[in-house]
């Protein structure tokens, strides 16, 4: 990085030197240059970065991570909650897949996730998640922003705002999303936080970061053009030496220029070994699969990106299996091996200790049938899991009742989930605030408790 464009770098420094007016402004100027500079957390963090894996549409708890033998037995017999938006009573539907214990801890996971099941010794499973709304839109917004109706900053934006980022040549918050989920870009929007903190959406394939590729016809001229603009800016700045915004803007062009090189490199997996690729189930040349996305998440985490999110499916073709639970199978197949590979890879590289991996969905599914063989939306309980980053490995936290229709023990509400994640990153969720429209806002609004039982 240091060999890049000494002229522009020099331009900034010399402009500063010219402004001997207020030497004290120098430090202010440096700070203004770098609004995403790493900031101190409230206390020593266990995790330094987050990889957030989101499964869209409502993953069934009783078919994946929450075994319910009694529900197998009660198939069709009693009335349970069913329906989509309707919540009417329907006959119970037995889970489609058998459960088996995984790892030394023996946490039971269904046959939908055979690879992930083997990683349960590293996973801190939560079977008692709970949310407040049975519509996709509201629940998806809530798991990302803590707000069910109004748009608010995403958890990734909050962490970018609270902690800054370690690599200024990449965005602090990257979202890998081939398709948009419910509530669209609101799930990774900065909302009222400054725009530095918005999730930068990356599209697997051709051009991951918007506008990061120079226009072909003029690419060779770009350095000249930046140089000319820089000379203009230097002159302009010299007469306005105390204006930190102007200097900061000069700096963004330097960063942008380096991003053109660094971002494509971060997204290029060609130098990864065959062993690594096969861990994720990626074939050489692939630049799109979920496995590729997980591998990219690791590469971005390695390069200091604070928060990486992968959204596995869109608002239309996803885990929302109303008619037939069989629709879970291809999706599970798509994400199972790559996620297991990601956990293995992070651990091998010693990154799992300070990287928090989160897998979640927006809500669970009903014990009762919806369509002939499917399940409805179910906010009362669902399963999510955490791994690494100071979480307690090899446990299954919380319990639901016999048919997974309500939380029986140790409820973890969305707000508690958020409070706990912030805690792992060294942040007191009640103290991370931003003043907006006359009020201090928090990710957790006025709720949330850190769930001690999930901490190592």
């Amino acid at each position: 990085m240091t060999n890049q464009h000494p002229t522009r770098r020099f331009a900034l420094r010399s402009a500063l030197a010219g402004s001997a007016l207020f030497p004290a402004l120098l430090s202010e100027l440096i700070a203004a240059e770098d609004p995403l500079a790493p900031k101190k957390p409230h206390f020593a963090p266990k995790a330094k970065r987050v990889i957030w894996l989101f499964s869209t549409g409502g993953v069934s708890q009783m078919d994946t991570f929450d075994p319910k033998p009694k529900l197998f037995a009660a198939d069709g017999k009693t009335l349970g909650v069913g329906g989509g938006l309707s919540l009417e009573k329907r006959p119970l539907l037995k889970p489609r897949w058998a459960f088996k214990p995984g790892g030394k801890c023996g946490t039971e996971v269904s046959d939908l996730f055979p690879h992930l099941r083997e990683k349960m010794d590293d996973v801190c499973l939560v079977r008692s998640m709970s949310t407040d709304n049975n519509e996709h839109f509201q629940a998806t917004l809530a798991i990302h922003t803590g707000s069910f109706f109004a748009a608010r900053p995403s958890i990734g934006s909050w962490l970018s705002y609270g902690l800054g980022t370690a690599n200024r040549n990449l965005p602090s918050f990257v979202v890998i999303a081939p398709h948009l989920p419910y509530a669209g870009t609101q799930v990774f929007a900065n909302d009222f936080l400054p725009a530095y903190h918005q999730g930068t959406r990356v599209l697997p394939g051709k051009e991951p970061v918007p506008n990061v590729k120079p226009q072909k016809a003029t690419a060779e001229l770009q350095e000249l053009e930046l140089g000319f603009a820089d000379a203009l800016n230097k002159k302009h700045l010299a007469a306005r030496a105390t204006d930190t915004d102007l200097a900061a803007r000069v700096r963004t062009f330097e960063t942008a220029y380096r991003m053109q090189t660094e971002a494509p490199e971060a997204f290029d997996v060609s130098k990864e070994s065959d062993d690594t690729l096969s861990l994720y189930g990626v074939t050489r040349g692939d630049t799109e699969s979920y496995g590729w996305q997980c591998l990219i998440a690791r590469r971005l985490a390695e390069r200091g990106v604070r928060f990486v999110e992968i959204i596995d499916s869109s608002s239309s073709n996803n885990w929302d299996s109303h008619a037939d639970m069989g629709a879970h199978e291809p999706l599970a197949k798509m994400i199972d091996k790559p996620i297991a590979g990601l956990l293995t890879d992070l651990k091998q590289r010693g990154m799992l200790d300070d990287t928090l991996v989160v897998w979640t969905t927006e809500f669970g599914r009903t014990p009762g049938q919806d369509g002939a063989k499917g399940r409805g939306h179910h906010p009362a309980c669902f399963s999510s899991w955490l791994a690494g980053g100071g979480t307690k490995p090899g446990i299954a936290y919380g319990k639901t009742d016999d048919i997974a229709s309500t939380v029986a023990e140790d409820k973890v509400h969305v707000h508690d989930f958020h409070a706990t994640i912030l805690h792992l990153l060294g942040i007191d969720h009640e103290k991370l605030t931003y003043r907006h429209a006359g009020r201090d806002y928090r990710l957790t609004d006025v709720y949330g408790n850190v769930v001690k039982g999930l901490l190592k």
Binding site: H136, N211, T218, F253
Partner: protein
């Protein structure tokens, strides 16, 4: 600290009541032996005068506290344990918070409490309910709730003719500071042109101003700009920020509202026509209820109520499950911020924690909106527009409705007749069954069946025609506007009831519709029929209302200077900032009102002041004393907002389409099938000004999102200015910027003959100044160097891109 002390004054303790009859001795004994000990042991920790933090605003250590209850309502209903919250919560009944939170009381203690409530909850304890109640009279003493005054213009050492300068100068002089000199003419015309019309000045306009030595030279520029139709496009956009304008509804599928462009254009036209601001307010709240000069005026006033119509929609349901309370909350929150500069959203659930605004004030306003018929733009479970307002005369609409009904009646009668015929034929068939012996039975049945088939077909055709007619859209243009609510049924015109803790399922007392108490509590006159919105509009637009004029003149100041006299433009409450120049603010407000609320008059006052025309250059002494420029010793430099950056790119390249925008190219309404699974989402490209870009509630236009455009979900009181590498990448690589560079290159080559003249042209277009000799040399050398290898056009394009990336292009001195 002083602020906190002042705040405390606003609140006082509710008076005690001493008129309760004394309970009989045996009941007092029961209370003392069985009840008081339980309350002391299990409840007082959180619900008494000794509580570190009083929970749920509930005190159980006084009789008054028990009866008044807390935020969930009274704790007991004397004589009715089953209905008493206290009993329900100690019994851990469904739907109430279980108490005590950690451990359930013994069955015996619960039985005692029940028995006590049953005997009427006798209670000898005295003392008040002890929860804080807002003292409205004290609240009125807060600066922003006091009447607007007309302060005397201060005398300053340097005499000045402009009152604004006198107010600003007197504060500067008190700090031994003086204003900065007047900015260079070129700086000034660039500043005022972007400020008033949102576009860069043309080289011809600059030249005319620079060569005009008359004392009225600048005034002429200002008058020209205020008369330009681009003025409304610029200032209308400011207002659109405040009222969170959008072309879609914001429900889970974000339904398009193709008609809403009319309201957008109404805002723009209103600014252009200098519609008095009080009238501007009145029409947005109650345009449908105001008298009209003629048909065109009536239509315009109907369209103006788009302000109310354009409130956010939520969820997916159309039926009884639609969460109207959230739409009204968005409405009241925006009304408070936009017109009054107060935050009222929190009063949905409880009295305001810092301002003298109560939950009752909130539901007093709620009644106006629940009495209003909102148009419904379509939603997942009902994908059609309903209750849009026809833009036709009442007579035309009535005539059409009459004709439509007559036709409908005729079609329905035909359906009925066909049905009767068909049924009769079916009966004949049944009758035939009894005559199986008849020789031609088979033939008869066959013939009859044939007839039945024919009659069935006819019946179905009639039915289809009738249904088609019923669904026919009205043959008039419509507006996304409101009307008076229904007079019968569940949702009808009338007062609203309080919602305990903001829960629409838990209704409290009815609250008469009125203005907030601290603003005078104006009430509807006896016998008011309808929603009463016209009265609300008049209260808002009343010159005696201390907030409306103050808030708006401060906004204008904020938009012209980059920050307001009150920094928190939409919060004039205790958590907002106090004004830096309170006398100036009041003087401006009173001047504004006495000049018939003319916004253009206000602009002239401001831009013709020296305060506005000052240079933005550094001044070492002043920086040391007032680094933040709180006293306005200079003009604040600022980055152009998102729309201005985009419009300046288009204007300088020559590609700008200056014709006002009309409707957006939305898909046809009959094809709408948007759901939360497949929400509406579109970006429509145009070379028109950015105010005409389609604005989606859900997602900002990519360019506006990148350059800090308005929040499309909530009121934006000020634009933030972020500076990110993604913005740099946009200017470096986006095809839109490259297209403008290409057009600019062609333009300067066409406009001038020599390289030097072309460079001068480019600098004048982009920076409103002539380049120095050095700059001309550098730029021509740059072009020459490239031209040796590439085409002339390519060389100029490259220079154009470099100029577009410079700070000078996007910053205003």
């Amino acid at each position: 600290m002083l602020r906190v002390a002042l705040l405390a004054l606003v609140f006082a303790v509710a008076p005690a009541r001493a008129d309760e009859p004394k309970p009989p001795p045996e009941q007092i004994e029961f209370f003392e032996n069985k009840v008081r000990p339980v309350l002391v042991k299990h409840c007082y920790e959180c619900h008494s005068a000794e509580s570190k933090k009083l929970k749920g605003e509930l005190r159980l250590d006084t009789r008054a506290g028990v009866h008044a209850g807390g935020s969930s309502g009274p704790a007991v209903v004397p004589g009715k344990p089953a209905e008493s919250l206290l009993i329900k919560s100690v019994k851990h009944a469904a739907g109430v918070e279980p108490m005590p939170p950690k451990e359930k009381l013994s069955a015996e203690a619960i039985a005692d409490l029940e028995a006590w409530v049953k005997m009427g909850a006798p209670d000898p304890r005295t003392g008040d309910a002890g929860t804080r109640k807002i003292d409205i009279e004290k609240g009125k003493q807060f600066w922003s709730f006091k009447p607007v005054t007309r302060p005397n213009v201060p005398r300053t050492k340097f005499a000045t003719a402009n009152a604004i300068d006198a107010f600003v100068r007197s504060k500067l002089e008190a700090q031994n500071l003086s204003p900065s000199p007047r900015a260079d003419k070129r700086v000034l015309i660039r500043r005022v042109t972007f400020d008033l019309i949102g576009l860069p000045p043309t080289p011809e306009e600059i030249d005319a101003f620079v060569t005009d030595d008359s004392p009225r030279a600048f005034e002429k520029v200002v008058d020209r700009l205020l008369a330009s139709t681009h003025y409304g496009e610029r200032w209308g956009r400011h207002w659109m920020d405040v009222i969170r304008y959008a072309d879609t509804a914001g429900d889970n599928s974000d339904y398009p509202i193709p008609q809403n462009y009319r309201f957008r254009n109404w805002i723009i036209d209103a600014f252009n026509a200098d519609l008095p601001f009080n009238e501007f307010v009145r029409q947005q709240i109650a345009g449908d209820l105001l008298p009209a000069k003629d048909e065109a005026d009536r239509r315009a006033k109907l369209i103006a109520t788009g302000y109310i119509a354009n409130t956010k929609r939520f969820g997916s349901y159309e039926d009884d499950r639609y969460p109207w309370h959230l739409t009204y909350e968005d409405q009241i929150d925006n009304l408070g911020r936009a017109f009054l500069g107060v935050t009222m959203g929190c009063c949905r659930c409880h009295d305001h924690k810092f301002d003298p605004l109560t939950q009752a004030d909130y539901y007093a306003l709620y009644g106006f909106f629940s009495s209003t018929r909102y148009p419904r733009p379509g939603i997942e479970l009902d994908k059609v527009q309903r209750d849009f307002v026809p833009l036709a005369s009442a007579a035309e609409v009535a005539a059409f409705e009459k004709e439509r009904k007559a036709k409908q009646d005729e079609l329905d009668a035909r359906v009925k007749a066909r049905t009767t015929e068909w049924r009769a034929a079916e009966k004949e068939l049944t009758a035939l069954d009894a005559k199986k012996d008849s020789p031609d039975h088979k033939e008869q049945v066959a013939a009859l069946n044939k007839r039945i088939e024919e009659l069935k077909r006819q019946q179905r055709a009639a039915q289809a025609e009738s249904e088609k007619h019923a669904k026919q859209p009205v043959p008039f243009e419509t507006a996304y506007a409101v009307a008076e609510g229904k007079t019968a049924g569940k949702h009808r015109v009338g007062n609203a009831r309080m919602q305990l803790k903001g829960d629409p399922e838990r209704l409290g007392a009815e609250v008469p519709r009125r203005f907030p108490e601290v603003l005078g509590a104006s009430k509807l006159p006896e016998g008011t029929e309808g929603s009463g919105r016209l009265h609300l509009a008049n209260w808002l637009a009343d010159a005696r209302n201390p907030l409306t004029a103050r808030v708006f003149v401060n906004r204008v100041w904020h938009w012209q200077f980059g920050r307001g006299i009150v920094r928190t433009a939409s919060n004039f409450g205790a958590l907002g900032e106090p004004p830096t120049h309170p006398e100036l603010l009041d003087w401006l407000a009173s001047e504004f009102v006495s000049h018939n609320w003319s916004v253009k008059h206000l602009h002239r006052l401001i831009v013709l002041s020296h305060t506005y025309q000052q240079s933005s250059a550094d001044n070492e002494a002043a920086l040391k004393r007032d680094a933040g420029n709180a006293l306005w010793w200079r003009f604040d430099r600022r980055r152009l907002d998102a729309e201005s950056v985009r419009d300046a790119l288009l204007a300088t390249s020559g590609a700008l389409d200056r014709v006002p925008g009309g409707p957006h190219p939305f898909p046809e309404a009959k094809t709408w099938n948007f759901t939360q699974h497949h929400p509406f989402k579109a970006v429509y490209e145009t070379n028109k000004r950015s105010v005409y870009l389609m604005t989606q509630r859900f997602a900002r236009h990519p360019f506006l999102a990148l350059f800090d455009g308005a929040d499309t979900n909530a009121s934006t009181e000020r634009r933030i200015t972020s500076t990110t590498p993604l913005q740099a990448l946009y200017l470096m690589n986006d095809p839109f910027v490259h297209a403008q560079a290409k057009a600019l290159a062609a333009r300067v080559q066409k406009d001038a003959d020599t390289d030097a003249a072309r460079v001068r042209r480019a600098y004048e277009l982009l920076f409103a100044r002539t380049p120095t000799a050095d700059e001309v040399t550098a730029a021509t050398a740059y072009v020459e160097k490239l031209r040796a290898k590439l085409s002339a056009q390519a060389a100029w394009e490259s220079l154009a891109r470099a100029l577009y990336m410079s700070n000078e292009f996007v910053y205003l001195d």
